[in-house]
Symmetry: C2
């Protein structure tokens, strides 16, 4: 039995403790982004989050509608000198080549095996689809997952000599956590392959598979020779989650318009436009790669992650643009 | 200032309160399904949930992997005498007919307007696609959402004289809540149109739009005449989330194999097979419509919600089969 005065004291303390939670939370806000230097971008993020989470405020957004979408390549992790998924495909071709002696004389495989990326590029879209078919198809979704897992733990970036999953941006990891701590649901919306990204998104970004939206190939259900149902990856492309495909993918998978979107290239422009066009407070951001010492510097003229039209639109519309060199005190974890 | 003895008492009480939470939770378990009569089905559900949530137990499943999928038509709400989305389309055609005098002489519209469903059926797949095009396409996703919302608040079921959203199954609402209270993430995986279901799934089932998987039409992004980006619904079918499409949809949208699946017809068989074939503890269930007094009774010979092969497989494999008449004390809320 608990006597009444003690109960009253205990209850008061519980109320004090509960009341303290939002205060602690608020004071922690400005420290939740330690790898972001004090800048207009950081201030815009913190100010936006404060506005949409202020209960009773004019811009308040209920938690269920706090949808935040992030591009992956060049926004959450690096993408130079080539998309990391292409590096995976190239490594996979090298592994499979022992069973395919004919590849030594056949493009685009010959180019891949000889490191002649110009020849690969010359094989065009047809060549790219042949690479996808050889490396991403004809196996079950579970076999593919195992192959990706094994590559992610063994492969190293050729220049930076680190596992690819270590080439994620520390400031963006902090931003993802900060948004989630403020009731946002975070999604990836990327041109990358969905079954590839899902293998590391949960461990690395804290984003579960069901919140990863990406490009995909056709998958077919059948009953295998062992009588077990399985899903087999086909070589046919089903959906390209890039450019105008991004708002389409957001509608298809999320069914709500985001209030927060971050990208880094022209392939993200329509996602940012779609986010911007909703009612109420919104945040649109771009990562601008300006740091050739710690990462890479590229924009309007780059073949990978070209940032041209979206940079102009961001400037004209007042969207946030991260200057990687000056805005981030740390790039990688 | 709080003095130390009072603080100690308060702290003890907080600990007592915290410790009581799991106990209350556990004791509440058997009462979380009040509309389920005591039966083998109810016992199997409760036993399964206890097994996979028992920390340190041999069948423990971490919360992130507690994926539960539910068919919608006939599993979460009624589907007789026709799928409710078809009733929506028919009502919509009646509304639009004033601007389409030619429909009075043209099938399948003539049949719809005259209530001659045999003529509609005779128009085949082409006729059905014409109905979809007239009622589900050529407008923005947001306009469509408004039309569905308006129909849901005004339309009544012809026989049961209640709004369609009142024809959901109370025992299944309890099951959804019970699973969520035990750390499951609940998804709809239905042959119904995703943009239709998303308009009521959150309010009625507590399932947010991003956890609704369904059939879909092509959607296109463009910039409207007013300069605003928008998504426009096209008449072309993009994905049929039925039969073998269900495991494909689960893989595409969730990216994890469910451990719990509930359906009611042969269109759910592959989803149940796919769920059953995973490793570890799994639960597969079917709603069998056996109650012609309170709802409807139909199975092997029904055109809507045909339950034949899946019923045989459930029996041979020991999946749970709800006998609506005897297992549910209440059908509708």
């Amino acid at each position: 039995m608990i006597d009444r005065p003690a109960y009253a004291i205990a209850l008061s303390l519980v109320l004090v403790l509960l009341a303290a939670v939002p205060l602690e939370h608020a004071s922690a806000r400005s420290d939740s982004l330690p790898s972001w230097n004090d800048s207009a971008t950081k201030a815009a993020i913190v100010e936006f989050v404060a506005r949409v989470t202020k209960d009773g405020g004019p811009d308040y957004v209920p938690p269920a509608e706090r949808i935040a979408v992030f591009d992956n390549d060049g926004t959450l992790w690096s993408e130079q000198p080539m998309y990391f998924q292409l590096a995976f495909a190239i490594d996979r071709i090298a592994t499979l080549a022992k069973d395919h002696p004919e590849w030594r004389e056949k493009q685009p495989f010959k180019g891949v095996l000889e490191g002649d990326l110009k020849a690969v590029a010359a094989s065009g879209e047809h060549g790219l689809l042949e690479i996808v078919a050889a490396t991403h198809a004809g196996i079950s979704t579970e076999e593919f997952a195992g192959i990706v897992d094994s590559w992610l733990t063994s492969a190293q970036h050729p220049k930076l000599k680190r596992p690819y999953t270590a080439l994620v941006y520390q400031p963006m990891l902090e931003l993802l956590s900060y948004l989630r701590a403020n009731g946002f649901k975070t999604f990836i919306v990327s041109g990358g392959g969905v079954e590839f990204m899902r293998r590391f998104a949960e461990n690395v970004y804290g984003i579960p598979p069901e919140q990863v939206i990406g490009s995909s190939g056709v998958v077919k259900f059948d009953i295998g020779a062992d009588g077990e149902p399985r899903l087999v990856k086909d070589a046919k492309i089903e959906f390209i989650d890039d450019g105008a495909g991004k708002p389409v993918g957001i509608n298809r998978f999320i069914g709500r318009r985001p209030i927060f979107a971050f990208g880094n290239s022209d392939g993200d422009l329509q996602m940012l436009q779609y986010t911007a066009a909703g009612r109420g407070a919104r945040f649109m951001g771009l990562v601008h790669h300006t740091d050739s010492d710690r990462e890479w510097a590229y924009d309007r003229a780059s073949h990978i992650g070209k940032l041209d039209k979206a940079l102009d639109e961001a400037k004209s519309k007042g969207w946030a643009v991260v200057d990687m060199k000056t805005d981030w005190s740390v790039v990688f974890p």
